[in-house]
Amino acid sequence: EPEVTQTPSHQVTQMGQEVILRCVPISNHLYFYWYRQILGQKVEFLVSFYNNEISEKSEIFDDQFSVERPDGSNFTLKIRSTKLEDSAMYFCASSPSSHEETQYFGPGTRLLVL
């Protein structure tokens, strides 16, 4: 069964450094999402992406964040200058043909900012 994959599984970085989190959505999916989960808290929406454009972003998704689909398979989340409060689990998700379809989540990247 096709799966969403994410790399790396864990990332440790110093405050102020740039990080890129990578996702490979399911191959025939067209809609992509990033969510984050701070330890012990609920999962929060960051951004949705379709047709090489951001469809919607949350208040969390400020100028330090960007997303890109650099080729036909990868979907990346970049944090330009990490802060301590960016430490969280970041989940990528994708859905097939429209926003009405179920979202399938990847295993997550645990980011720790020191």
Partner: protein, 115 residues
């Protein structure tokens, strides 16, 4: 703003027994989708079951079923014949029918299935 509330932070159940997890939500929309996701210790979010608000019939997926009460804005998950592998955090989530697909999650309920 739409909110999703799971009022039970933790629950436990004996293996083979039945357990019900509660979820309420707040919206003025009439058309939307509701989901239950499972997050085991491995941390991967796995879809358990989904419900379209326009459908009156409650969704069922093997041992998992929902009690969808649209007027009461309630969406509870029933797990029958609980298994040790059901131990996980369970999240209720809401999505508008016509938007960019953003999921709004509840706080989660940690379920422990005891042998």
């Amino acid at each position: 703003a739409q909110t999703v509330t799971q009022s039970q932070p933790e629950m436990s159940v004996q293996e083979a027994e039945t357990v019900t997890l509660s979820c309420t939500y707040d919206t003025s929309e009439s058309n939307y989708y509701l989901f239950w996701y499972k997050q085991p210790p491995s941390r991967q979010m796995i879809l358990v079951i989904r419900q379209e608000a326009y459908k009156q019939q409650n969704a069922t997926e093997n041992r998992f079923s929902v009690n969808f009460q649209k007027a009461a804005k309630s969406f509870s998950l029933k797990i029958s014949d609980s298994q040790l592998g059901d131990t996980a955090m369970y999240f209720c989530a809401f999505r508008f029918a016509s938007n960019t697909g953003k999921l709004i999650f509840g706080q989660g309920t940690t379920l422990q299935v005891k042998p």
